[in-house]
């Protein structure tokens, strides 16, 4: 695999000098995926499931084949894949259905300050309404979740564990497999927010033995408006649907209704047809690139970036031991938002903000950080541009000091 060849698949990379380093927010979309989306909109464009004509059948086939692709991709069964609007919707689905029906006063729910708001807030809401207790795994001095610290909060009262697989703000990999084992010993249900894991490494839900796992299409070369909730089938089957209407029903009477089996009972109304088909295309694309390459490329670039950044003075790196392509830093004395404008001027696309992780910002004692996040299509030139822009921001704002 040659990065320069790969970059030709991405219009922005092939046709501009942008260093795109905001991949944790959303990845760019390659031509083969856009072609898939176009194929649906242009050549088909019709509704699925209910049609008895060829276009509809073809669209249905593509939609359901995408589900099978997802299932193969994360190693689960076809009917364990629920299509949702995104990771946030998927995580909310579990909390609204399983959480609202099973959690009782006094139960404990474990989460962490390293979570994305979408992983933690659905359970904060359940805890508030059901008078359960929301418990935070203490982070270690690097702000990591450790097995050690997880054990300190795990108890017989623990009913739910809702944690990230990879932190979007710090790039740490949670020791999720051990945590799942420990949680299961206590009979707790584990929901894994894998929005930052699935795009970057091979994920096997059966090997992890997690009960639920969620991710989004748009962070893995796929379309916006599509995500996946994986759930063990017995859980999905026992859960109440949260939206009611077309396509999810079996029999509808005036005062009562029966639902289809999972996953369909959770997919109310006209499905995310183009989204699912495009996600299928994204999976094909990533598998063709290969996770070996993706992991190696991100690792090389991360090492290089950290090495170059450490040469600079007046830079604070918050996660020097990051395990993925996510680096969080600030330029001392320069507000991250101001720095970002310098980066933008220099065609470096980077994020400055709380990264939907306000509790972590409170831990770090920062209003915001600058986050560079890598993907397999980045190259050394992107890193060099970033380093140059950091230097420029430093010297530019130094004028005013």
């Amino acid at each position: 695999m040659d990065v320069n060849e790969i970059r030709q698949d991405f219009w922005v990379l092939a046709n501009s000098s942008l260093a795109y380093l905001d991949n944790a927010a959303s990845s760019l979309k390659p031509k083969p995926v856009i072609d898939m989306i176009n194929h649906y909109y242009r050549d088909l464009g019709v509704n699925i499931h209910r049609g008895v004509y060829r276009l509809s059948y073809e669209a249905t086939d593509l939609y359901e084949k995408a589900r099978q692709k997802v299932a193969d991709f994360i190693n689960c069964k076809f009917e364990e894949v629920v299509f949702t609007r995104g990771a946030s919707s998927a995580l909310n689905l579990v909390a609204s259905s399983l959480g609202m029906n099973e959690i009782k006063a006094g139960d404990e729910i474990i989460t962490s300050e390293l979570e994305h708001h979408s992983s933690m807030l659905p359970w904060q809401n359940v805890a508030r309404i059901k008078k359960a207790k929301l418990v935070y795994v203490p982070l270690n001095e690097e702000k990591k979740i450790t097995v050690e610290n997880f054990k300190k909060v795990l108890s017989d009262k623990t009913k739910i564990v809702a944690l990230n697989y990879v932190s979007n703000a710090m790039g740490y990999i949670t020791p999720i497999k051990e945590i799942i084992n420990l949680a299961h010993e206590k009979g707790a249900i584990v929901i894994v927010d894998a929005a930052q894991a699935v795009p970057h490494q091979s994920v096997d839900v059966k090997a992890l033995d997690c009960d639920f796992l969620a991710f989004s299409g748009h962070k893995m070369c796929g379309p916006t408006g599509i995500g996946v909730l994986y759930g063990k089938y017995e859980f999905l089957q026992s859960m109440e649907p949260i939206e009611f209407g077309g396509d999810m029903i079996d029999y509808v009477g005036l005062q009562e209704v029966t639902y289809k089996d999972a996953p369909y009972k959770f997919e109310t109304g006209t499905p995310l047809i183009a989204g699912a088909i495009g996600l299928g295309g994204a999976i094909d694309y990533l598998l063709n690139i290969g996770f070996d390459f993706i992991v190696k490329q991100e690792e090389e670039l991360r090492t290089y970036l950290l090495k170059e950044m450490k040469k600079l003075s007046d830079i604070t790196i918050y996660n020097p031991t990051t395990e993925t392509g996510i680096i969080a830093f600030n330029i001392n004395g320069v507000h991250p938002h101001d720095a970002a404008s310098v980066f933008d001027e220099d065609d470096v696309a980077i994020r400055a903000g709380h990264h939907c992780a306000q509790p972590l910002m409170h831990c770090l004692n920062q209003i915001a950080t600058i986050r560079a996040s890598l993907y397999f299509y980045n190259n050394k030139a992107d890193i060099d541009k970033l380093i140059k822009a950091i230097k420029k921001a430093k010297s530019f704002f130094a004028q005013f000091m």
Binding site: H49, R50, G51, V52, R54, S56, Y57, D61, D250, Y251
Partner: protein, 150 residues
């Protein structure tokens, strides 16, 4: 008037089984294995009952409502599998599914009248209609874990 492909889908046999279904109507009694399948999107609804003795299927009954393809297929299936060993019935299910999907199938296996559903492979939208009865058979054999011969 030529009806082209339609004539490969709607064979005389099929329409005959639709008009005059064999083994239609359910029995009461505890010694039947029973399954009820629906295809809510098109309204097909099928209940299947079988009785098994010494690994042989000795009775098949079905009831329900739906289009000519789904209703006739239930009738044809009931005749095809009657008296068969479970093992052999399972082979036919498999072979039949391959055939209607348009995949390679074993022409040596005797499927009786079920062979006329070959034409379905050109009407993928009707695949569910042609298979609901056979899926019901698969489920009924699986659901009750009818002992299979070694």
């Amino acid at each position: 008037m030529s009806y082209g492909n339609l004539e490969t889908l709607y064979r005389q046999v099929i329409m005959d089984h639709y008009k005059n279904p064999r083994n239609k109507g359910l029995k009461s009694g505890e010694d039947y294995y029973q399954v009820h399948l629906k295809n809510p999107t098109c309204g097909d609804d099928l209940t299947l009952q079988i009785k098994v003795k010494n690994n042989y299927i000795t009775e098949v009954h079905h009831d329900g409502s739906g289009c000519s393809i789904s209703m006739s297929a239930a009738s044809v299936m009931s005749e095809t599998i009657m008296g068969l060993k479970i093992e052999d019935a399972k082979k036919i299910i498999d072979n039949y599914l391959h055939m209607v999907k348009g995949e390679a199938y074993d022409a040596e296996i005797d499927m009786g009248d079920a062979i006329v559903y070959q034409g379905v492979s050109q009407f993928p939208a009707r695949f569910k209609c042609a298979t609901i009865a056979w899926n019901a058979l698969d489920k009924v054999l699986e659901k009750h874990k009818v002992p299979d011969e070694k």
